[in-house]
């Protein structure tokens, strides 16, 4: 059993930490959160270092990193900002999907632009009546001459309104086939005529924005379809392990920061003549919190290692998602409790963790869906 990282991995971790310490101070994150602005500036700097190409194969201009490498990046980045790490992942994983299923022309056209930060990629699945039951999506695409014509509505779409974003939109291309079989993937630039994006005010995710998207006779060239017609559901599920694991890595980095903030407060805040962290109830609460972060971290590391070995690991990934997301949400609540009124004040960072963490047990496969996946992997026909 080997718990260490390779030397390259240690260097990778250090370089991410060094960069984030320099370019992503708490004031920067606070300001973007308050102004509800997309982190263009820092993504520009990351792209200069080639980060958006980290998991992209070398033949398409990337570095070809594996799962363990990538979660190191996510963990370190999210220690400084959950949202910046999350938004990074959205572009990168949409890019990997194009690598996996797209045509040679699509790869050569979109991937270098994504790596150079000239465009952003976003994903678009959820609809008002298709949430956990995503395969019920109804937004339609009909071929008309050389174009696909899209009509319908998506909701809860993260970061789709950032400038020059190409959206990976899952659409229904055949209503007569069973629901999982009539779905396709089409790339739609967010400034295409007929696309209307409306921001939904949310409790958290203030930088990346969450949107409704309306498609009204939106025409894109036939060539914008990724992969084969009616093969979208398979594409949606492919690469899911790595994408989820990267998400998990952002939960553990963020959770660690929550513990660090609470710990620092408990050392500095003096009540009844001593630092509150020296009260046993507080000390034990913090001990539990760090234990939970480490447990979540190990679940993520294990699943990433399995993925790199080519082993099936859907169950382990789902466990990491379930436990990691619940941990971040629970810990930010406890961190706020430890900081008392200051934790509840909008002038401190803990409330941002509380707000941002609350959606992660809901989004990208809710905790309930993860439990269903785990139970099915255990041989139970849970419905």
């Amino acid at each position: 059993m080997e718990f260490g990282f390779s030397e390259e991995q240690n260097i990778l971790r250090n370089s991410v930490t060094d960069f984030m310490e320099k370019e992503c101070p708490p004031e920067y994150v606070r300001e973007l959160d308050e102004k509800e602005e997309y982190p263009h500036e820092i993504y520009g700097k990351m792209s200069k270092l080639g980060w958006f190409g980290l998991p992209i194969p070398e033949e398409y201009g990337g570095s070809g990193l594996g799962a363990v490498d990538l979660i190191i990046v996510g963990e370190e980045m999210s220690r400084f900002s959950y949202e910046i790490a999350a938004g990074f992942g959205i572009s990168v994983f949409c890019g990997l999907n194009i690598i996996e299923h797209g045509s040679e022309e699509q790869k050569k056209f979109y991937i270098p632009k994504m790596i150079d930060n000239k465009i952003r990629l976003s994903i678009s699945i959820t609809e008002p009546n298709a949430g956990s039951d995503a395969a019920s999506l109804a937004t339609s695409a009909v071929l008309d001459g050389g174009s696909w014509v899209l009509n319908g509505q998506k909701t809860f779409q993260t970061a789709s309104d950032a400038k020059d974003t190409v959206m990976s939109v899952y659409v229904r291309t055949d209503k007569d086939l069973p629901k999982h079989k009539g779905i396709s993937l089409i790339l739609v630039p967010n400034d295409t005529p007929g696309v209307e994006i409306r921001r939904i005010k949310m409790l958290g995710r203030k930088m990346l924005h969450t949107n409704e998207i309306f498609f009204e006779d939106v025409r894109v060239p036939k060539e914008n379809m990724v992969g084969e017609l009616n093969n979208g559901w398979k594409m949606l599920l492919s690469g899911l392990e790595l994408e989820r694991l990267y998400g998990c890595s952002t939960f553990i980095g963020s959770s660690q920061t929550v513990v660090d903030l609470a710990l620092e407060h408990s050392k500095q805040r003096v009540q009844f003549g001593r630092p509150i962290g020296t009260f046993q109830a507080m000390g034990h609460m913090l001990a539990d919190m760090q234990t939970e972060v480490d447990a979540a971290r190990l679940l993520v590391y294990r699943a990433a290692w399995m993925l790199d070995q080519g082993m099936p690991c859907m169950k382990q990934v789902s466990m990491a998602k379930l436990f990691g997301s619940e941990t971040y949400a629970r810990l930010s609540n406890q961190g706020m409790q430890i900081m008392g009124g200051y934790g509840y004040s909008l002038e401190y960072d803990m409330q941002r963790h509380f707000r941002d963490s609350r959606i992660i047990t809901v989004s990208a496969g809710s905790s309930q869906m993860q439990r269903t996946v785990i139970a099915r992997e255990m041989g139970l026909r849970v419905v």
């Binding site: 949310m202 009540q271 008392g340 004040s345 309930q368």
Partner: protein, 381 residues
């Protein structure tokens, strides 16, 4: 055991109507603007609720603890912030009616008639939260007056309060050097400072209060000098059951109401969401939690109203009620967000607001950690 009197039922039904017709429709707007809801003040005043804790002889409702619990529960069921001004005002008037002289009480009540009737309970300071016994705002005798200097933090209703019940240091260190004085908002040198910018609990007028050489007549001292801490522990802390406890529980009940309504209509994977057992069990657990919190609160109110139990037993029940109801409130509202999913996380959804508001109850009015300290101390002593 829990059988309400005709009077209690009457008050509850009146408040429920107010909550549904006047409070609930404004909740989202107040949450958005963080403005102190003066329209609530009007409705509460019209129905005598601001003076609920006063005896009938002073124009009050002479409400017992059970009645206060029902009032706060019904309001919080509509909007958790809504009862907060009643809680601060009610607690201050309760202290005054029990510890002030008749002349003082009449003078203060007359003063309140000229304004909004709202009072604040000014105990917490920036560096003395849980450790309030070491507070530093100082009142120094000067002829017929005290001169008050210092500041208070996180003071609910302080933005608009006519009178502030202020805990000050008049003697030596610790809880034995603390007195209680009433400071009028019109006093020279008294300033309402910054509004606390909070994650939730909007519209509660929570501010910093600043005392800059404020001269306060010695006639405004409540009870004896340096005996203020007893007023806190013997009278005011008991408000935690009908104040924070009922706020948390009413808010949780409201979240449960909302989520049940949502789930009935929602369809996922081709079947109604109510058909999923995981959802059913979550709902059942939420209802169990709310009901046990309610039972504990009602039992505590019943014991308090019967006047038979020892101070220690009552204090323990009050601590348990506040702590348990606040934890239930957090869990139930968070589970409600989980069930409703993305829609429950959307700004302006009642469920998202209830979760943010629920958090503050675990922190304010003696954090849940302090409640556990007191409960444990009473168990062990």
């Amino acid at each position: 055991m829990v059988e309400f009197t005709e009077e209690q039922k009457r008050v509850r039904d009146t408040v429920r109507k107010i909550a549904e017709e006047k409070v609930a429709p404004r909740a989202a707007e107040i949450d958005e603007t963080d403005e102190f809801p003066l329209d609530y003040v009007d409705v509460y005043a019209k129905n005598g609720l601001l003076k609920a804790t006063l005896p009938k002889s002073s124009g009050g409702l002479d409400a017992d603890t059970m009645t206060l619990c029902l009032i706060v529960e019904e309001l919080a069921r509509a909007y958790a912030s809504a009862p907060q001004m009643l809680i601060t005002t009610g607690a201050v008037l309760q202290v005054l009616s029990k510890a002030a002289t008749t002349a003082q009480l009449q003078r203060f009540l007359k003063r309140l008639e000229k304004g909004t009737h709202i009072c604040s309970f000014a105990l917490t300071e920036a560096n003395y939260g849980s450790d309030a016994g070491n507070l530093q705002t100082r009142a120094v005798p000067d002829g017929d007056n005290y001169v008050v200097n210092g500041s208070k933090a996180f003071i609910t209703s302080g933005e608009v309060a006519e009178l502030n019940l202020v805990f000050v240091r008049t003697g030596g260190r610790g809880t034995k050097g603390i007195s209680v004085i009433v400071v009028d908002k019109n006093s020279h040198g008294f300033h309402v400072g910054n509004k606390e910018h909070k994650m939730g609990f909007a519209g509660t007028g929570t501010v910093e209060l600043i005392f800059d050489d404020v001269e306060v007549s010695k006639d405004n001292l409540i009870g004896k000098e340096n005996e203020g801490w007893r007023l806190l522990t013997n009278i005011a802390n008991m408000m935690r059951v009908w104040g924070a406890g009922s706020t948390a529980m009413g808010n949780a009940q409201g979240a449960l109401d909302d989520v049940v309504e949502y789930v009935r209509e929602e369809v996922q994977s081709g079947k109604p969401e109510v058909d999923f057992q995981a959802i059913q069990f979550m709902l059942a657990d939420m209802a169990i939690s709310v009901e046990t919190a309610r039972s504990l609160i009602y039992r505590t109110a019943y014991v308090m109203d019967r006047n038979g139990a020892s101070f220690k037993d009552v204090e323990t029940l009050v601590c348990m009620s506040k702590c348990y109801a606040a934890d239930v409130g957090m869990k139930v509202t968070s589970d409600a967000v989980q069930i409703v999913g993305g829609y429950g996380y959307t700004k302006g959804s009642s469920i998202e607001r209830r979760m943010r508001d629920a958090k503050s109850v675990q922190i304010y009015d003696g954090s849940n950690q302090i409640q556990r300290i007191v409960a444990a101390r009473n168990l062990l002593s």
